[in-house]
Protein backbone atom coordinates (compact mmCIF):
# COMPACT_ATOMS: atom_id res chain seq x y z
CA UNK A 1 0.00 0.00 0.00
CA UNK A 2 2.74 2.43 1.00
CA UNK A 3 4.61 1.65 -2.23
CA UNK A 4 1.61 2.37 -4.51
CA UNK A 5 0.92 5.72 -2.87
CA UNK A 6 4.55 6.81 -2.69
CA UNK A 7 5.46 5.98 -6.29
CA UNK A 8 2.32 7.44 -7.88
CA UNK A 9 2.57 10.63 -5.82
CA UNK A 10 6.31 10.95 -6.45
CA UNK A 11 5.88 10.60 -10.22
CA UNK A 12 3.03 13.11 -10.18
CA UNK A 13 4.98 15.62 -8.10
CA UNK A 14 8.10 15.44 -10.29
CA UNK A 15 6.02 15.64 -13.50
CA UNK A 16 4.16 18.71 -12.29
CA UNK A 17 7.41 20.34 -11.11
CA UNK A 18 9.06 19.69 -14.50
CA UNK A 19 6.03 21.18 -16.25
CA UNK A 20 6.43 24.35 -14.13
CA UNK A 21 9.98 24.73 -15.42
CA UNK A 22 9.38 23.66 -19.04
CA UNK A 23 6.01 25.13 -20.11
CA UNK A 24 5.99 28.62 -21.64
CA UNK A 25 2.53 30.01 -20.83
CA UNK A 26 2.58 31.56 -17.30
CA UNK A 27 -1.00 30.45 -16.59
CA UNK A 28 -0.10 26.80 -17.35
CA UNK A 29 2.97 27.16 -15.12
CA UNK A 30 0.83 28.39 -12.23
CA UNK A 31 -1.79 25.65 -12.68
CA UNK A 32 0.95 22.98 -12.83
CA UNK A 33 2.43 24.40 -9.64
CA UNK A 34 -0.99 24.10 -7.95
CA UNK A 35 -1.14 20.44 -9.04
CA UNK A 36 2.38 19.88 -7.70
CA UNK A 37 1.54 21.46 -4.35
CA UNK A 38 -1.54 19.24 -4.02
CA UNK A 39 0.66 16.18 -4.72
CA UNK A 40 3.04 17.40 -2.03
CA UNK A 41 0.14 17.74 0.43
CA UNK A 42 -0.79 14.12 -0.35
CA UNK A 43 2.83 13.13 0.37
CA UNK A 44 2.52 14.90 3.73
CA UNK A 45 -0.50 12.69 4.44
CA UNK A 46 1.56 9.57 3.66
CA UNK A 47 4.05 10.89 6.25
CA UNK A 48 1.19 11.25 8.78
CA UNK A 49 1.44 15.05 8.89
CA UNK A 50 -2.27 15.64 8.36
CA UNK A 51 -2.52 19.17 9.69
CA UNK A 52 0.42 20.32 7.56
CA UNK A 53 -1.25 18.80 4.51
CA UNK A 54 -4.35 20.90 5.20
CA UNK A 55 -2.20 24.01 5.72
CA UNK A 56 -0.34 23.25 2.49
CA UNK A 57 -3.61 23.11 0.52
CA UNK A 58 -5.16 26.19 2.14
CA UNK A 59 -2.12 28.48 2.27
CA UNK A 60 -0.01 27.32 -0.67
CA UNK A 61 -2.40 25.88 -3.24
CA UNK A 62 -5.09 28.33 -2.17
CA UNK A 63 -3.80 31.73 -1.10
CA UNK A 64 -0.31 31.89 -2.61
CA UNK A 65 -1.29 30.49 -6.00
CA UNK A 66 -4.36 32.71 -6.25
CA UNK A 67 -1.97 35.62 -5.68
CA UNK A 68 0.24 34.33 -8.52
CA UNK A 69 -2.69 33.88 -10.91
CA UNK A 70 -4.07 37.29 -9.91
CA UNK A 71 -0.77 38.99 -10.79
CA UNK A 72 -0.51 37.06 -14.08
CA UNK A 73 -3.99 38.23 -15.06
CA UNK A 74 -3.38 41.78 -13.79
CA UNK A 75 -0.15 42.23 -15.74
CA UNK A 76 -1.42 40.31 -18.79
CA UNK A 77 1.94 38.52 -19.10
CA UNK A 78 2.51 37.19 -22.61
CA UNK A 79 3.83 33.79 -23.49
CA UNK A 80 7.60 33.81 -23.24
CA UNK A 81 9.41 33.54 -26.57
CA UNK A 82 11.39 30.33 -26.95
CA UNK A 83 15.05 31.21 -27.21
CA UNK A 84 17.50 28.95 -29.06
CA UNK A 85 19.39 26.61 -26.75
CA UNK A 86 23.07 27.46 -26.94
CA UNK A 87 25.44 24.53 -26.51
CA UNK A 88 27.11 25.63 -23.23
CA UNK A 89 23.66 25.65 -21.65
CA UNK A 90 22.81 22.22 -23.08
CA UNK A 91 26.09 20.84 -21.72
CA UNK A 92 25.34 22.42 -18.35
CA UNK A 93 21.86 20.88 -18.20
CA UNK A 94 23.24 17.47 -19.24
CA UNK A 95 26.01 17.57 -16.62
CA UNK A 96 23.48 18.69 -13.99
CA UNK A 97 21.10 15.82 -14.80
CA UNK A 98 23.91 13.23 -14.72
CA UNK A 99 25.31 14.57 -11.43
CA UNK A 100 21.82 14.62 -9.86
CA UNK A 101 20.82 11.13 -11.02
CA UNK A 102 24.14 9.59 -9.93
CA UNK A 103 24.80 11.77 -6.89
CA UNK A 104 21.50 12.06 -5.03
CA UNK A 105 20.98 8.31 -4.35
CA UNK A 106 24.58 7.99 -3.13
CA UNK A 107 24.27 11.09 -0.95
CA UNK A 108 21.01 9.79 0.55
CA UNK A 109 22.42 6.29 1.08
CA UNK A 110 25.27 7.76 3.12
CA UNK A 111 22.81 8.68 5.91
CA UNK A 112 22.49 5.70 8.28
CA UNK A 113 18.87 6.62 9.12
CA UNK A 114 17.80 6.49 5.47
CA UNK A 115 17.24 2.71 5.73
CA UNK A 116 14.29 3.15 8.13
CA UNK A 117 11.11 1.68 6.66
CA UNK A 118 7.80 3.49 6.35
CA UNK A 119 5.02 1.55 8.10
CA UNK A 120 1.78 3.44 8.55
CA UNK A 121 0.55 3.75 12.12
CA UNK A 122 3.96 3.20 13.69
CA UNK A 123 5.20 6.78 13.58
CA UNK A 124 6.12 8.41 16.90
CA UNK A 125 4.91 11.86 15.79
CA UNK A 126 1.28 12.69 15.27
CA UNK A 127 0.42 15.38 12.78
CA UNK A 128 -2.68 16.45 14.66
CA UNK A 129 -3.36 20.16 15.02
CA UNK A 130 -3.45 19.81 18.81
CA UNK A 131 0.12 18.52 19.11
CA UNK A 132 1.44 21.05 16.63
CA UNK A 133 -0.40 23.85 18.44
CA UNK A 134 0.96 22.77 21.83
CA UNK A 135 4.52 22.99 20.50
CA UNK A 136 3.79 26.25 18.70
CA UNK A 137 2.37 28.02 21.74
CA UNK A 138 4.88 26.72 24.31
CA UNK A 139 8.45 26.13 23.08
CA UNK A 140 8.08 28.17 19.91
CA UNK A 141 5.89 31.01 21.20
CA UNK A 142 8.55 33.74 20.66
CA UNK A 143 9.06 32.59 17.08
CA UNK A 144 5.31 32.55 16.58
CA UNK A 145 5.08 36.18 17.74
CA UNK A 146 8.00 37.12 15.47
CA UNK A 147 6.12 35.56 12.55
CA UNK A 148 3.16 37.81 13.32
CA UNK A 149 5.44 40.86 13.18
CA UNK A 150 6.95 39.55 9.91
CA UNK A 151 3.52 39.24 8.30
CA UNK A 152 2.58 42.75 9.49
CA UNK A 153 5.79 44.21 8.03
CA UNK A 154 5.22 42.30 4.77
CA UNK A 155 1.68 43.67 4.51
CA UNK A 156 2.85 47.25 5.08
CA UNK A 157 5.66 46.71 2.58
CA UNK A 158 3.28 45.47 -0.10
CA UNK A 159 0.98 48.46 0.41
CA UNK A 160 3.90 50.89 0.21
CA UNK A 161 5.38 49.19 -2.89
CA UNK A 162 2.11 49.11 -4.80
CA UNK A 163 1.02 52.69 -4.15
CA UNK A 164 0.42 54.31 -7.49
CA UNK A 165 1.53 57.83 -6.64
CA UNK A 166 3.95 58.01 -3.69
CA UNK A 167 3.32 61.32 -1.94
CA UNK A 168 5.85 62.46 0.66
Amino acid sequence: MEQIFFWSLAVGLLTAASAVVILRNPVSNAVCLVVGLVFQAALFVTLEANFLAAVQIIVYAGAVMVLFLFVIMLLDVKEEARRPMVWPKLVGVFVGVVVAVLGIPRLVASFPASQKKLIWGEGKTSGAAQDLGTLLFTSYAPLFLATGVLLLVATIGVVVLCRRDPSP
Binding site: A49, F51, L52, V64, V71
Partner: protein, 104 residues
Protein backbone atom coordinates in the same frame (compact mmCIF):
# COMPACT_ATOMS: atom_id res chain seq x y z
CA UNK B 1 13.51 -1.28 -6.04
CA UNK B 2 9.95 -0.38 -7.02
CA UNK B 3 8.45 -3.29 -5.10
CA UNK B 4 10.67 -2.86 -2.04
CA UNK B 5 9.71 -1.09 1.15
CA UNK B 6 9.53 2.69 1.19
CA UNK B 7 12.31 4.12 3.35
CA UNK B 8 13.35 7.56 4.53
CA UNK B 9 15.88 7.48 1.69
CA UNK B 10 13.09 7.44 -0.90
CA UNK B 11 11.60 10.62 0.50
CA UNK B 12 14.99 12.34 0.77
CA UNK B 13 15.84 11.40 -2.83
CA UNK B 14 12.47 12.69 -4.03
CA UNK B 15 13.14 15.92 -2.17
CA UNK B 16 16.58 16.15 -3.79
CA UNK B 17 15.18 15.70 -7.30
CA UNK B 18 12.48 18.29 -6.62
CA UNK B 19 15.20 20.69 -5.46
CA UNK B 20 17.22 20.07 -8.64
CA UNK B 21 14.17 20.77 -10.83
CA UNK B 22 13.47 24.00 -8.95
CA UNK B 23 17.12 25.04 -9.18
CA UNK B 24 17.04 24.42 -12.94
CA UNK B 25 14.00 26.68 -13.16
CA UNK B 26 15.73 29.47 -11.24
CA UNK B 27 18.86 29.21 -13.39
CA UNK B 28 17.33 28.63 -16.85
CA UNK B 29 14.17 30.72 -17.02
CA UNK B 30 14.16 34.45 -17.73
CA UNK B 31 10.72 35.46 -16.46
CA UNK B 32 10.69 36.76 -12.88
CA UNK B 33 7.28 35.11 -12.33
CA UNK B 34 8.57 31.65 -13.28
CA UNK B 35 11.69 32.18 -11.15
CA UNK B 36 9.46 32.89 -8.14
CA UNK B 37 7.42 29.74 -8.85
CA UNK B 38 10.68 27.75 -9.00
CA UNK B 39 11.66 29.28 -5.65
CA UNK B 40 8.42 27.84 -4.26
CA UNK B 41 9.54 24.44 -5.57
CA UNK B 42 12.86 24.82 -3.72
CA UNK B 43 11.07 25.65 -0.47
CA UNK B 44 8.73 22.70 -0.96
CA UNK B 45 11.67 20.33 -1.45
CA UNK B 46 13.07 21.52 1.89
CA UNK B 47 9.63 21.10 3.51
CA UNK B 48 9.32 17.54 2.23
CA UNK B 49 12.76 16.61 3.60
CA UNK B 50 11.93 18.20 6.98
CA UNK B 51 8.60 16.38 7.36
CA UNK B 52 10.13 13.07 6.25
CA UNK B 53 13.03 13.29 8.71
CA UNK B 54 10.63 14.32 11.48
CA UNK B 55 8.35 11.33 10.79
CA UNK B 56 11.13 8.76 10.70
CA UNK B 57 13.23 10.13 13.56
CA UNK B 58 10.28 10.97 15.81
CA UNK B 59 10.86 14.73 15.90
CA UNK B 60 7.59 16.69 15.90
CA UNK B 61 9.59 19.97 15.95
CA UNK B 62 10.33 19.66 12.24
CA UNK B 63 6.62 20.08 11.50
CA UNK B 64 6.72 23.39 13.38
CA UNK B 65 9.68 24.39 11.23
CA UNK B 66 7.69 23.59 8.09
CA UNK B 67 4.84 25.67 9.46
CA UNK B 68 7.18 28.67 9.75
CA UNK B 69 8.65 28.04 6.30
CA UNK B 70 5.14 28.15 4.80
CA UNK B 71 4.42 31.44 6.61
CA UNK B 72 7.67 33.04 5.48
CA UNK B 73 7.09 31.78 1.92
CA UNK B 74 3.67 33.45 1.88
CA UNK B 75 5.22 36.75 3.00
CA UNK B 76 8.01 36.34 0.44
CA UNK B 77 5.56 35.75 -2.41
CA UNK B 78 3.45 38.77 -1.43
CA UNK B 79 6.50 41.07 -1.34
CA UNK B 80 8.09 39.58 -4.46
CA UNK B 81 4.92 39.99 -6.49
CA UNK B 82 4.53 43.57 -5.22
CA UNK B 83 8.07 44.35 -6.42
CA UNK B 84 7.27 42.62 -9.72
CA UNK B 85 4.16 44.77 -10.20
CA UNK B 86 6.14 47.94 -9.35
CA UNK B 87 8.87 47.02 -11.88
CA UNK B 88 6.31 46.02 -14.52
CA UNK B 89 4.70 49.47 -14.34
CA UNK B 90 8.02 51.06 -15.39
CA UNK B 91 9.56 48.41 -17.66
CA UNK B 92 6.45 46.68 -19.13
CA UNK B 93 8.21 43.32 -18.93
CA UNK B 94 8.95 40.50 -16.46
CA UNK B 95 12.19 39.40 -18.14
CA UNK B 96 15.09 39.66 -15.71
CA UNK B 97 17.69 40.49 -18.37
CA UNK B 98 15.83 43.81 -18.82
CA UNK B 99 16.23 44.56 -15.08
CA UNK B 100 20.02 44.53 -14.97
CA UNK B 101 20.49 48.20 -14.07
CA UNK B 102 20.15 49.57 -10.54
CA UNK B 103 18.28 52.79 -11.30
CA UNK B 104 15.29 53.21 -13.61
Amino acid sequence: MITGDITLGHYLALSGFLFIIGLAGVLLRRSLLIIMMSLELLLNAANLALVAVGRFQGLPDTQVAVFFVITVAAAEVALGLAILVAIFRVKKTTAIDRMANLRF
